[in-house]
Symmetry: C2
Subunit: 436 residues, 2 copies
């Protein structure tokens, strides 16, 4: 049997081999039957969603049985009074967003891969995106889960309740465990009221330490109206501006800028303007522009969202989605910047991220593939001892596995493995992801 | 050794026996040593927080080793820039709230037992309270956990990151599992900006089905400003009014009323008033009073919070904290009301709850202890097949254990037991809670 090329890799580009078969089951029962058969035959299973992952988690090895969820893509119901939806795991994020909007609600998880990525894969990796500050990660939008375990048992926990205190919450075994403990087949999702009009601003801070002070000021002043707080290094902003042709409205002078969004309520624009004026008076902000029109706001976002173009200009790049406490950010950035600059003076090293989510992205390149591990070692070793994480939102998969011990304790790793052994003693489901 | 009476029961009143010893360890290492010793000696451990539970989960049996967390009550740090706190598990909820407020932040979980209950116990039972609509349950305020496992191993996962996608999130093994998988010793908590001024209203709806339609209207109109939506049956409101001496501002006429709170932003009061005027025009509300002063607002809340007095007037009572989808609520209430009325015409049956949390409380009494099981059977059997839960916030403990299978599937129960066996093969920690 020939296997279609597209099932061999995800967006990370990693390839591992050619699977024995690729199945596209149409129901939970079919998934369960495939799992039982694979287990009987001693095969390894690789679970696939939309194949948009960046950590190689959905990439099959030689001889694997691939279970691709693409055919289980139905929206099963939308409760438009309560704001709840039940879907099959293979529905795309965009399908979910559109079905929510059609019922007068809003699904708050969003990122660029929305048209291809699947909601089941989003849950398995606990995807984040640009609205986490206000709505949390995918975990916070999942009310219930149905999953197939490694022995083919179906666990149906499709609760649709906001509150439930009746023993261990089984959702969390499957959210973020990257398909190693079960295959998510269906989900109940929590929808949000539409956020309403938003206001956008771009601000410059005097130094990196002011980023967290400004965020504190905005959180306390704007409360839940604050929906995005995306910081960018001066070099990132300059590169983005050159690439997109969008001029930054800010003068030169500071190493750090931040894109700020406030949403909801007729007063979001006025509140954002007042909060930034106050911040300027207090010296937390050195320059600032509030978008006067939707077109202006789109331009500001265009700068922040130029990452795919930056990646292709600087390719081959190495990309990071580290997490760490805000208080650690200045020192971490300085250490990494210095180390990368020293070792790779010819490359560019760009920093940006979601400060309110403790998440910093680093984009560095070009680097030949032979240097990737060394680049990773520089960045991940700088995370040690800082209470951080090597992955805030992309997951571990295969690619970050060697570094997991840098930010998780030995006790944690032992417990992860104990749970895995209890639920999948034959190592049938997604073996080799997260840990060996 | 004589054991102090106060360690023998919680607020449920259940007693089971006299423990061998009661320990109050001062550190995580001491907890771990006690667990190792108990396991070596084949003893059962009962973990105790503030003993305010309503399901008997902290009540020891004859010969148990009690680990009471009351001495581990330190606030370890407050990060007032980022809004994060690290505490020992025995700190009271009130200590946590006060330490947050002192740093200019807000800890959003709140209920009447705040001065006695402990944050570790709150986490072990995933406590709810009156602010869940806006801030979620305790789970949503916990960023990291340290716990001692049944073999005495310490698992430190005191992450303080909003976002982390590096394998299974271990917090969720301990939150809501009622001490059966580990003893929570320390936590990192997420704080919120202070909510600001609030507006309160009491409204009458034409019928029970309108409760969810009104909630939808308010969620979409007020967005995150909507912070409480507490419904009450006419009989509850009347009894509460008689007991407290607070007259309801609403005329007679409807079977259902709802207490509504909007918070945050200078326009909360105006927005709430406008939203209710619109609801009145649309027939979703038949009468309505917005509190004109803080004293008025306090009176409205006094009615809702008269439950302890109602319980003592009607004692002995049987109390429920069921959860179910909003669409099921009218039929469930009618079925339960009819059945209780028919079988216990001399008792009172009061209904109230947090609709936005899918949570309905039922308070019925007086009932002699010999009838308690029959009362429970009437209520819990009415939950079957409705995608509900027998406990939305109080936990299962011992008292609700016989009914857990009414709302959790066989697959779920098997998986719960499998996790328990993997982490506590000798059944050392809190045996007999949740399931046998």
């Amino acid at each position: 049997m020939t296997v279609d090329e597209r099932y061999l890799r995800d967006w990370s580009g990693l390839t591992r081999g050619v699977p024995q078969t690729v199945h596209q089951p149409a129901s939970t029962d079919e998934v369960a039957a495939l799992v039982r058969q694979a287990r009987r035959e001693g095969k390894h299973i690789t679970v696939q969603g939309g194949l948009t992952g960046l950590a190689g988690g959905a990439v099959p090895a030689d001889g694997d049985v691939v279970i691709n969820m693409g055919r289980m893509n139905r929206i099963e119901y939308v409760d438009d009074v309560e704001g709840i939806m039940q879907v099959q795991a293979g529905a795309t994020l965009q399908q979910v967003q559109e079905a929510a909007a059609a019922a007068g609600w809003f699904f708050p998880v969003d990122f660029a891969a929305r048209g291809s990525c699947q909601i089941g894969g989003n849950a398995a990796t606990n995807a984040g995106g640009t609205q986490v500050l206000r709505y949390g990660t995918l975990r916070d939008s999942v009310l219930g889960i149905e999953a197939v375990l490694a022995d083919g048992e179906i666990v149906t926990s499709l609760t649709r309740l906001v509150k439930n205190s009746s023993g261990l919450d089984l959702r969390f075994l499957f959210i973020g465990s990257e398909g190693t403990l079960g295959i998510i087949t269906r989900l109940t999702l929590r929808l949000q009221p539409p956020p309403g009009a938003s206001a956008t601003a771009l601000a410059q801070v005097p130094d990196i330490a002011s980023l967290s002070a400004l965020l504190r000021h905005l959180r306390v002043t704007l409360g839940p109206q604050l929906t995005a707080y995306e910081f960018m290094s001066a070099e990132f902003l300059q590169q983005a501006s050159e690439l997109t042709g969008v001029a930054s409205p800010l003068g030169p002078g500071s190493a750090w800028s931040v894109l700020i969004q406030a949403s909801g309520g007729a007063d979001a624009h006025a509140n954002l303007e007042a909060a930034l004026t106050r911040a300027y008076d207090d010296g937390l902000v050195t320059d600032c522009a509030v978008a006067a029109s939707l077109a202006d706001a789109d331009k500001f976002w265009r700068l922040r969202e130029s990452i795919p173009e930056l990646m292709s200009t600087l390719k081959p790049t190495v990309n990071f989605d580290c997490g760490l406490p805000m208080a650690q950010m200045p020192d971490f950035v300085e250490q990494v910047q210095r180390a990368l600059q020293q070792r790779y003076p010819q490359a560019r090293h760009l920093f940006m991220g979601h400060l309110g989510d403790n998440n910093i992205h680093i984009l560095t390149g070009p680097h030949p593939e032979s240097e990737w591990f060394n680049v990773e070692e520089i960045v991940y070793s700088a995370l040690r001892g800082r209470q951080g994480t090597i992955s805030a939102e992309h997951g571990i998969g295969f690619l970050k596995k060697p570094f997991l011990g840098y930010t998780r304790s030995a006790g944690e790793l032992q417990l992860l493995q104990r749970i895995k052994r209890a639920l999948d003693p034959d190592n049938t489901l997604n073996p080799g992801r997260i840990f060996d």
